[in-house]
Symmetry: C2
Subunit: 234 residues, 2 copies
């Protein structure tokens, strides 16, 4: 019987690469996507496409009420998504696209599902190199979450499973991630990264997420299949 | 300015006592209740009553999709709530009313709200003495969650706040909790504990939660105001 893995999927570049890695390692994939009041439904559509193309065993979409909590440009309309930030600025401060406790909430649901499925492995596409400065993307945080998880779950406390939070991308640059994904046959046209797409679904090309994506393809020397709204500036 | 506290509230005996304790300590209370596919809406009604009577600053109710994950007698209809378990049995095994990763999910949302509010303190009514054997009610788990939280939040990482998970009931017996609450003026008629109430809202009197509640009032020597369905057997 194949080992099961819960993979957090946003339909983005990182999580899709992670899913391809887990699949290549022989796991049966249970993809988990959150509908948390993103400003757009494109992320959910991308996650659906990815789940289909990568032939996951089950794809679960959970609705989260994060909009009622607020505090982020990604969950409320009161805060604008920052554009065209310099690389220096990106490295120096945590931006307003930070969603309070997001990965903690996401991983907590993953834990619950993992216990029900009997899946010891949870894959998450966090990355501490070419990332947006979120504290809950660092290895130190992930390790502490994992140790907490093994005190929280009945199956762990009873010795029936030990949770491993797998973060294969954590020390990779965006270019490395893209190269790895291409090797594994990932079609990045399926994926969606932009924080602030146009009504027709085109990536803005200027938010942190677009800037990191563009830079990654450029540095990897691989053509970027993304359709940007700011044609020519990529 | 009063210090703010997020208090997890289920409308039950423990969380209501915790709220009264936090209020007596001078905190401004933000109560957080989850609608997670409990078999009944009585918990939500009780939490609303408690929020009103204890004059909280804000009462937030979040809908959680735990029913889609399953794995518990409290979130699916496939598993029955156990009745009339002996005390020995209650101490010896984790029951089917265990909800996978429940406190981790609840506390994760509390973290998010605490960061947005600027509240360093989160109160939760976990209890490791007269409890149902859930692993995520133990001090060891809570401490690990707290240390994880302080790596997860932007405000914590930037040194603007340090999260404290406060568990004033953790070493108290149910009788101690009730005595403490009565001293603070808690009206336990407001609260609801039963896992499996009748359609009219009467407590079953036989689930673990009812048994612990009855025992607590008996040992505290305080009349139990609960209306039980199994009249006479308490």
């Amino acid at each position: 019987m194949k080992r099961k893995a819960v993979v957090l999927s946003s339909g983005g570049l990182d999580s899709t690469t992670v899913m391809a890695i887990a699949k290549a390692e022989g796991y049966e994939i249970y993809s988990l996507t959150f509908n948390y009041g993103q400003r757009h439904a494109l992320e959910l559509k991308a996650a659906n496409r990815v789940a289909e193309v990568l032939a996951v065993k089950e794809h679960l979409v959970l609705d989260l009420d994060l909009g009622k909590i607020g505090g982020s440009a990604l969950t409320t309309d009161d805060i604008g998504v920052p554009k065209a930030r310099s690389e220096k600025k990106m490295k120096g401060e945590i931006p307003v696209t930070y969603v309070p406790a997001r990965n903690t909430i996401f991983l907590s649901y993953a834990l619950a599902w993992a216990e029900v499925l009997g899946a010891s492995d949870i894959f998450v596409g966090v990355n501490a190199i070419d990332y947006s400065g979120y504290p809950d993307c660092r290895a130190e945080y992930i390790k502490r979450f994992e140790s907490m998880a093994n005190l929280a779950l009945k199956a762990a406390v009873e010795g029936k499973m030990k949770i491993h939070i797998q973060t294969p991308l954590i020390d990779m640059t965006k270019a490395d991630i893209i190269r790895r994904g291409v090797t594994l046959g990932v079609d990045y046209r399926l994926t969606h990264s932009c924080y602030d797409p146009s009504p027709e679904g085109k990536a803005c090309g200027e938010c942190d997420s677009c800037l990191l994506r563009k830079k990654g393809f450029r540095e990897a020397g691989i053509p970027d299949p993304t359709v940007y709204d700011d044609l020519g500036s990529s």
